[in-house]
């Protein structure tokens, strides 16, 4: 507005000046006319020498015409100025209108921005306080309700070779673990599986079926497990037996083909763990009672109890014993996490019971496990004692009576290659190098005898098919190379050297016992692709 005033004043002053300039010019002309008139009166022009009055009139007329022309020019200039001023005014008005529109638009934007900011703040507050990150899982769980169902499991497909067994066969294993959670203190867990190999395909039978119960709530270190469960003796059956967890294709001898402890039992467990020191310094307990161990003669697979007969491997169909069993396992983890020394477990187990009438089966064992960085190791040693019935007459089969002791052990070492500095391997090789793990295991079993009808040479998942394993004094060195595609997907490769020692006896039902001399060594090789899901 102030600018407009300046323009108006400037225009007025300019027009006035322009108006005055011609007037002054006219006056000057008039004076010159007067001067020329005066001059002509004193010194008449040569042309008007005949009629001075007429000449003067002509001069005035010419001057008047000139003045008229100047006035017209002035008016034209004034008109142009007026038009220009009007155009300027119009432009100023347009600009003012535009500015007002912009101001209005700005106001609207500011209002919208404020509203959006308020909305964003509200959403952010909701996210922070309600949906996440900490509350999101619980919200989903709340939506799904208390009853939930989950399926986990594993699958393995492999190819096994055994020189002495003359086997070269594919094998397949598949197991699903349904979990049905009823509420925060009760969950069902099961295991159904199938195994396929040259011997055929086993049916889908439940190998585990139990309830996990938290009788005192989630915050008390007491859980009950009732039903058919893995035997919590040592660590292998419970924690290491799934193919994708066990870094080897085969289990150690004492938990595999020559198992000295039953793999599962029907009963009730109480268990729990507490922290006794710093973070990671824990101690835990597991105690249980069950239906007791069973051997082949217990369930009628063979007619007479014999030293060297095999423990029943599948208690799902062999649980009808007249015995009772009870056991306990205690573990301590002495190293605190804060010290960054790795995790060390020390364990002791015992399992005892009546395997046949009043005849005892007793066992105990110790074990360890340790992992730090790329290195891990674990091992166990266990001993069993079986009281044999006193049989007479035809039942007094050689080796029937007295008692039977067995010992089993293993130790394994593994190292993942990511622990080795390897700065120059290149982009392709380096990740593959990092996923590779080298393994070695030594395991053995000592027992007095082997029942010849127990000797197998048909491979199945976890068993190479090597008959050399079935020796009273079996020894095995296993070398492994694992390639971990994912934490739960692994390509396992293993070479087993079966190195049985002389000693012990072979029993064949209906034939005389034969002492075992030097037993043939064997080599078996296995490759297996395993997935845990």
């Amino acid at each position: 507005m102030k600018c407009l005033n300046h323009l108006l004043v400037s225009g007025f002053v300019l027009s006035t000046v322009l108006t005055m300039i011609p007037l002054r010019s006219g006056l000057a002309d008039e004076s010159s006319v007067s001067k020329s008139g005066a001059a002509s009166s004193d010194d008449p022009a040569p042309g008007s020498a005949g009629d001075p009055a007429k000449s003067k009139t002509s001069t005035y007329k010419r001057v008047l015409d000139e003045l008229e022309a100047e006035r017209r020019e002035m008016r034209e200039t004034e008109r142009k100025h007026a038009e220009e001023e009007a155009a300027e005014n119009k432009r100023i008005e347009d600009l003012e209108t535009e500015v007002k529109a912009l101001q209005s638009s700005n106001q609207q934007l500011a209002t919208q921005t404020n509203a959006a900011q308020t909305q964003v703040a509200s959403v952010q507050k909701t996210i922070n306080s309600q949906l996440g990150p900490f509350g999101f899982g619980d919200r989903i769980n709340s939506f799904l309700g208390q009853h939930t169902f989950t399926m986990t499991g594993d699958a393995a497909v492999g190819y096994y070779y055994s020189r002495q067994g003359n086997n070269s066969d594919p094998v397949l294993e598949f197991e699903v673990n349904p979990m049905f959670k009823v509420n925060d203190w009760l969950q069902f867990y099961g295991a159904f599986g199938a195994v396929a190999g040259p011997g055929g395909i086993s049916s889908m039978a439940p190998t585990l079926a139990n309830m996990q119960i938290f009788p005192l709530g989630q915050e008390a270190p007491l859980e009950l497990v009732g039903g058919l469960f893995d035997l919590p003796f040592g660590d292998f059956y419970e924690n290491q037996s799934p193919p994708w967890v066990n870094p080897f294709v085969t289990p150690p001898l004492m938990y595999g083909a020559e198992a000295i402890e039953p793999p599962s039992a029907l009963g009730l467990q109480a268990r729990g763990g507490i922290q006794w020191g710093g973070l990671g310094q824990d101690v835990d307990y597991t105690v249980w009672g069950d239906s007791g161990p069973s051997f082949e003669s217990t369930t009628g697979v063979i007619g007479t109890p014999v030293i060297g007969e095999r423990l029943n491997t599948l208690t799902g169909t062999n649980i009808a014993t007249n015995g009772k069993g009870f056991g306990g396992r205690f573990r301590v983890f002495p190293l605190p996490i804060a010290k960054d020394l790795g995790r060390l477990e020390l364990e002791a187990s015992t399992y005892n019971g009546k395997w046949l009438d009043g005849n005892w089966f007793n066992s105990w064992g110790v074990g360890y496990a340790y992992r730090v960085g790329a290195f891990r190791t674990r091992g166990e040693w266990a001993q069993t004692y079986r009281q044999m019935p006193s049989l007479t007459g035809a039942a007094a089969y050689p080796g029937c009576c007295g008692h039977e002791n067995r010992q089993g052990w293993y130790t394994m070492l593994a190292y993942s290659l990511y622990g080795i500095p390897h700065p120059n391997l290149g982009d392709w090789l380096e990740p593959r190098f990092d996923k590779t793990e080298l393994l070695v295991r030594y395991s053995g079993v000592n027992q007095r005898a082997i029942l010849t009808s127990d000797i197998m040479n048909e491979p199945t998942q976890g068993f190479s098919g090597s008959p050399s394993i079935f020796s009273p004094h079996a020894r095995e060195v296993a070398l492994g190379l694992d390639y971990w595609i994912q934490p739960n997907i692994v390509w396992q490769n293993e070479v087993d050297f079966e190195l049985p020692r002389a000693g012990g006896t072979y029993f064949t039902i209906g034939a005389p016992a034969s002492p075992v001399g030097a037993t043939t060594n064997d080599v078996a090789a296995m490759t297996q692709f395993t997935l845990g899901f």
């Binding site: 900490f134 939506f143 986990t152 996990q212 859980e223 268990r271 824990d282």
Partner: protein
């Protein structure tokens, strides 16, 4: 068929959103609860690789849904005799980190 699936999907999403919203409207966690969550999360973050790797490779939290981790950890706590507070911390980490 596709439209039915689409409708079912929309209904499911609306139901989920409704349930989450209803739950969200029921009350925000207090600052103390948030602090407790954060403490559990950090503790679980420290324990997860060590405790899980003791027997097997630690599994990726994104592999399972929160309700599945609830079930799996209920099973793993029993199997491995985890102290209750440690199990709660690992569970918090697995459900949140995913």
């Amino acid at each position: 068929m596709k439209s039915r699936i689409a409708k079912a999907g929309v209904i499911l999403v609306l139901l989920l959103a409704g349930a989450v919203g209803a739950r969200a409207a029921s009350g925000a966690p207090t600052a103390e609860q948030q602090k407790r969550h954060l403490e559990l999360f950090h503790k679980g973050q420290a324990l997860w690789p060590i405790y899980c790797n003791h027997c097997h490779n630690a599994r990726n939290p994104a592999e399972f849904a929160p309700y599945q981790w609830d079930q799996i950890m209920m099973h793993m706590r029993t199997l491995e005799n985890l102290p209750p507070e440690d199990e709660a911390a690992i569970l918090e980490y697995l459900k949140t980190a995913r």
